[in-house]
């Protein structure tokens, strides 16, 4: 790891540690956006760092940004950091306006489809974007839609604070949340009129498939962080909690379970790293293959590790009061966002089967 990367991670780590308190998490879950946290993160420049310097960014490496996501995942930071990074990337590359405010990006589900039709010198947007992260609280919503000549990006002004059912960014909004209480709002567009300068053709390769894939990777990386936190929490708890007169960490059954959990956490980190590296390959098919592996492996790790973490904790881990659920509820949610591990695993399998049995080894060792 480069020194500047390590310094960046240390500093955002301290920032998250200061801001991501249990109270902030609880308030966020009650629908109150953590403005102070967002401002602090925003001031580091991380959310827009991938943009070229000309566009107010820092030409940062995606690998550094995603390493920050891992830290955010550790601290269960209740902000649309990944979404803002991806929204800025899509909008800026298409030449659209971006915002310092939290942004979101979509569609995030395979089945959703948005369409754009010409309307004078503007456009009309129709269709549904389901379970868009933080849609009601985003300052800008960047969507990918099918235009008459191919994929287009749309940047809509958000209406932050509109978390009740109703209108948001001109759409019908149905608020929702994932199992961790993070906002996942559905937007329905019925021919919404959009100005011409808010719509542009996507840059080559920075399209819906790319957003879906990197969104999946973002979730994998967040999960890798959440898994590290859950392990840390479980190991600490096992050392402190006494039963039968000694810390439960001294029971071989608990040790063996935590060892299994640690193995899964380590594998998740390694798989997430491989996915991150894949972004620098400039080979979308191979990027998709490696991200698919990451989402699959991390998802499987999340399933095994969260079970063990709860098992080790016993009843306390099942309470809202205790912090373990901040990690595990996110793991249960994130593993199915931007496609679950079953979907991505099928993609991995389809990829290797299409190449054939004798190409399996070359495929695995490529690069």
């Amino acid at each position: 790891m480069r020194d500047e990367t390590r310094m960046l991670l240390d500093s955002v780590g301290r920032l998250f540690e200061d801001h991501c308190t249990k109270e902030v998490a609880d308030r966020a879950e009650a629908g109150i956006f953590p403005d102070a946290l967002w401002r602090a993160v925003s001031e580091t420049g991380v959310p827009l760092a991938a943009l070229p310097e000309s566009a107010g960014g820092a030409d940062a490496e995606w690998s550094d940004l995603f390493a920050v996501l891992r830290v955010a995942g550790r601290f269960a930071a209740p902000i649309p950091l990944a979404e803002t990074m991806l929204a800025a990337w899509v909008a800026s590359s298409a030449g659209l306006q971006i915002s310092e405010q939290p942004m979101t990006v979509g569609p995030v589900r395979l089945g959703d489809r948005l369409t754009l039709e010409r309307d004078g010198n503007g456009w009309r947007l129709s269709g549904r974007a389901s379970r868009l992260p933080w849609a009601a609280q985003a300052g800008r919503i960047v969507l990918l839609a099918d235009g008459p000549d191919g994929e287009m990006a749309v940047a809509l002004e958000g209406t932050p604070g509109s978390s009740a059912r109703g209108q948001a960014a001109g759409a019908e909004l149905t608020p929702g949340r994932n199992m961790a209480g993070e906002p996942r709002d559905t937007l329905d567009f019925a021919g919404l009129r959009v100005a011409g300068d808010a719509v542009a053709a996507v840059a080559r390769g920075i399209d819906r498939a790319a957003v879906y894939r990197r969104g999946a990777l973002a979730r994998a990386v967040l999960m890798a962080g959440a898994l590290e936190r859950a392990l840390d929490t479980a190991v600490t708890y096992a050392g402190e909690r006494k039963q039968f007169g000694r810390p439960i960490a001294k029971f071989q059954a608990v040790q063996q379970q935590l060892a299994v959990m640690a193995g899964q956490v380590a594998a998740a980190g390694a798989a997430a790293d491989a996915g991150i590296e894949a972004m620098s390959r400039d080979d979308p098919a191979m990027e998709e293959f490696l991200i698919a592996i990451a989402k699959t492996r991390v998802g499987d790790a999340a399933t095994i590790a969260s079970e063990i973490a709860h098992q080790v904790h016993g009843a306390i881990g099942f309470t809202k009061e205790y912090s373990l659920q901040l990690s595990t509820r996110r793991l249960w949610s994130w593993r199915d966002e931007f496609g679950g591990d079953a979907e991505w695993a099928a993609r991995v399998g389809a990829f290797v089967c299409a190449r054939g049995a004798d190409a399996l080894w070359p495929t695995l060792t490529d690069g």
Partner: protein, 382 residues
């Protein structure tokens, strides 16, 4: 070589149990509106069951019971659970507290409590766990001191399900000398029947779970006075009284039917003609469930004969929990969906609830490690 470490002898349900099944199904059909909701604690429903003689159904008639067989009770409760009936009001009293009072209570207690439970008038909760004693009851710190006309109790209880709604709690604590703040691990364990609704010195605070629900409580007992006639069983006999409950607590169909509705929805998702892999995955689950049910029924047979098959109960509970915790994992892999608690789609919301509830299953009724320790003891390994 004996070969069979544990015994799960075949049992056949008697005709009377089959008859009862029909009655229960008809009853559930009449009360369809109460089923499958999140409102599990419903005294009105329990009263309807009481009217039919379905609470305390195996107890002696002289104490309000109906002297029916363990098999009939088995059929009743598996039907209730499979249908998602709201049995929370009487569940603990019917399964544990009532039978325990009939076994260890004074004549006055046996006259007072079981008939009221069987009428659906009284609900119970179990005050056992404490902040520092979960699996390890010897760590109990709540202490009772003998005073004039009764006992004075101080301490606190944690994870007490339904304490905020129940009428009575069977309190597990230790005897101490006046002024003694700490009790040692081996002090005499003693139980009391505590009137939760009419006793000063009880503070009940909610403990919200990770689904945002209120089932657990923390209870603070400050100079709680329990009269002599509510001492339960013998001073120092608390251990034995508690462990006799465990075969009941661990072998019942509630140990593998908590998430049954998810399996039903999985079959629905599969449709009438699933592909081979889907059919096989469902088939493995159904095979586990059918086998668990058989094992549980076999234990009901042993209970009917007055046996205490503690090891067999631990085996069944452990297998049942493993099966149920695997259910949402397999559901996700067969029918991928983004789980959502408030989803309109039954499968999607059930997937969320099941995923979030799964961790609880290997905690209640003995953790996995404790159960496997009991099984290992049954194998002669410890």
């Amino acid at each position: 070589m004996t070969f069979q470490a544990f015994h799960f002898d075949p049992v056949e349900l008697p005709p009377v149990a089959r008859e009862l099944r029909k009655e229960v199904r008809a009853f559930l059909d009449e009360n369809r509106a109460s089923l499958g909701t999140r409102r599990d604690y419903d005294q009105a429903f329990s009263r309807k069951m009481a009217e039919r003689g379905w609470i305390g159904m195996t107890w002696p008639k002289q104490y309000g019971g109906h002297e029916r067989t363990a098999f009939e009770r088995y059929v009743l409760i598996e039907e209730l659970l499979a249908a998602g009936a709201p049995v929370g009001f009487h569940w603990t009293a019917d399964r544990q507290s009532g039978p325990n009072i009939l076994r260890f209570g004074t004549e006055e207690q046996k006259q007072f409590f079981p008939p009221r439970i069987a009428r659906g008038d009284l609900s119970f909760c179990i005050g056992m766990s404490e902040p520092d004693s979960g699996s390890d009851l010897a760590g109990t710190r709540t202490r009772a001191v003998k005073v004039d006309g009764g006992f004075r109790v101080n301490g606190s209880k944690l994870w007490t399900s339904n304490a905020h709604r129940a009428d009575y709690m069977i309190l597990f604590c230790k005897m101490a000398e006046a002024g003694q703040e700490e009790v040692d691990r081996h002090a005499g364990a003693t139980q009391f029947l505590v009137d939760l609704k009419n006793s000063p010195g009880i503070e009940i605070r909610p403990v919200i779970n990770l689904l945002g629900e209120h089932h657990f409580n923390q209870i603070f007992l400050t100079d709680l006075f329990v009269p002599d006639n509510r001492l339960f069983g013998e001073v120092g006999n608390g251990w034995r009284q508690v462990s006799s409950e465990l075969a009941f607590e661990r072998s019942g169909p509630d140990r593998f039917l908590v998430l049954f509705k998810l399996l039903v929805e999985m079959v629905r998702m599969a449709g009438p003609n699933p592909d081979r892999a889907t059919a096989a995955a469902l088939g493995r689950l159904v095979s586990q469930l059918a086998t668990l049910r058989r094992m549980s029924l076999s234990i009901a047979g042993m209970l009917q004969e007055g046996l205490q098959p503690l090891t067999e109960a631990a085996v069944t509970k452990d297998l049942g929990t493993r099966y149920e915790q695997d259910l949402p994992v397999i559901a996700r892999s067969l029918f991928p969906a983004e789980p959502e608690l408030e989803a309109v789609d039954t499968y999607v919301s059930m997937l969320a609830r099941s995923t979030m509830n799964a961790p609880r299953l290997s905690i209640q009724g003995g953790t996995r490690e404790i159960l496997r320790g009991i099984i290992a003891r049954g194998l002669g390994l410890r």
